[in-house]
């Protein structure tokens, strides 16, 4: 276990590993997304209340879930980076932040597009919506703090602390619908006793979620690869690699 951990944390090894993993994630994402989109947009029946408008769920829910997942992932990486002083983990956290911010923005945008017909307003100051907005601010704050510190080492550690502090917001986003009576609808997918959706609606949704995850994997690995290269630009293995090309 430890040797594996150590091996993974060596930049050249990670670089090669990620280079071989990216295509896998990429193709899996493409496959899942295409199939589920077809399932969601074509074969799934229209909702008896909302008609075809509900189909935005296939973007909104995966994006919203991913926004939370990426934050946890980023914070975990940052924690590993701080505790074990592993630079690679910091590189992972850095690479995740912009993706997380974009996905959060996507969730907010699709949510408000959906909210207009459903609630009659683009935006309401409701617990779920607000905490999701705070999540976006946290991502932006993370990136803002990084950009304000020019020394990578220092920026890594400072922004990691911020990411860890921000973790308190994640359960608030997730449980906001349970803790406060909210405009936003409650948990339907991960409810006890199975999802409260008919299978031909739910299956494509799960497919989309997996597809989004794989897409995140591919983009994140690509960004980490780039980040590692920039950080290790003076090291021997990068120079060897560049000159051997």
């Amino acid at each position: 276990m430890w040797t594996w951990f150590h091996k993974l944390s060596s930049p050249p090894h990670f670089y090669r590993l990620s280079a071989s993993l990216i295509p896998w994630f990429g193709w899996l994402a493409a496959a899942f997304l295409i199939v589920s989109l077809y399932g969601g947009l074509v074969t799934a029946p229209a909702d008896y209340q909302q008609g075809d408008g509900f189909r935005i769920i296939y973007v909104h829910v995966p994006a919203a879930m991913l926004s939370l997942f990426i934050y946890m992932f980023m914070a975990t990486a940052a924690a590993i980076g701080v505790i074990w002083r592993m630079k690679l983990a910091h590189a992972v956290a850095v690479a995740c932040a912009p993706i997380g911010a974009s996905v959060t923005f996507l969730a907010l945008a699709t949510g408000s597009i959906w909210g207009k017909p459903m609630w009659g307003t683009w935006w309401a100051w409701d617990a779920r919506l607000t905490s999701e907005l705070i999540l976006l601010f946290l991502y932006l704050g993370y990136m803002g703090l990084r950009s304000a510190i020019d020394d990578t080492n220092r920026a890594d550690r400072a922004s990691a602390i911020l990411a860890l502090v921000g973790v308190v917001n994640v359960p608030i986003v997730h449980y906001s619908v349970t803790w406060w009576n909210s405009l936003h609808q409650g948990s339907t997918l991960l409810k006890k006793g199975g999802p409260a959706l008919p299978p031909d609606m739910a299956l494509p949704l799960f497919g989309m979620i997996i597809g989004f995850m794989c897409f995140f994997g591919a983009v994140a690995l690509t960004r980490v690869k780039r980040e590692v290269l920039v950080r290790e630009q003076n090291s021997k293995w990068v120079k060897d690699m560049v000159t051997s090309k």
Partner: protein
Amino acid sequence: MQTPGLVDSALALLVRDLKLGYRRLGELANPLVFFLVVATLFPLATSPEKELLMEIGPGIVWVAALLSSVLALDTLYRSDMDDGTLEQMALSPQPLAWLLLIKTIAHWLVSGLPLVILAPLVAQAFFLPADAMPAMVASLALGTPTLSLIGSIGAALTAGLRRGGALVAMLVLPLSMPILIFGARATDLAMDGLDVTGPLNLLAAIMFLALSLGPIAAAAAIRVSLD
């Protein structure tokens, strides 16, 4: 040589910070003045109608409290950082998190406590019913220390950077939004004659969480800033 205990060192630091705050009367007045300006601006900017003022009163008090505590943040560690006293504190045998907690408390005494004391005055100006006053003061008393504690993390993260201002606010405000929501909610409930223990308990819980975790995060951040 006999190292002073936690209480001795805390007292010394508290006295020093209060003394410095008192010597710089101006800095002490800033958050206060700002608080009053924000509060008086609203009747001027909107309209002096009683119903409206009553409705926005608690919210305004809270926003003013939040903004003025953020405003004062810049001075929390910056000056100690610039003249090297913070690095001397980090090299003392006392735990850094403890020292930062004391500094934050001193900061709250200078910037938060006056707000708690002044709030009834402002609330009066906003025609807040007298029954709601205790709830509002209680919510401020429980909420503003948390604001200072969260702010202290932000200030610690940006202590080494020259352009703190907007960045600190950007880091701190999102995290302090829940306090604002619960604080204003408590006063709202009290105005409607409802039970306020719910939000007050929550504020207290958050305060204790912030008390236990905030200084540790701030200490870690200061060590990074000093590097």
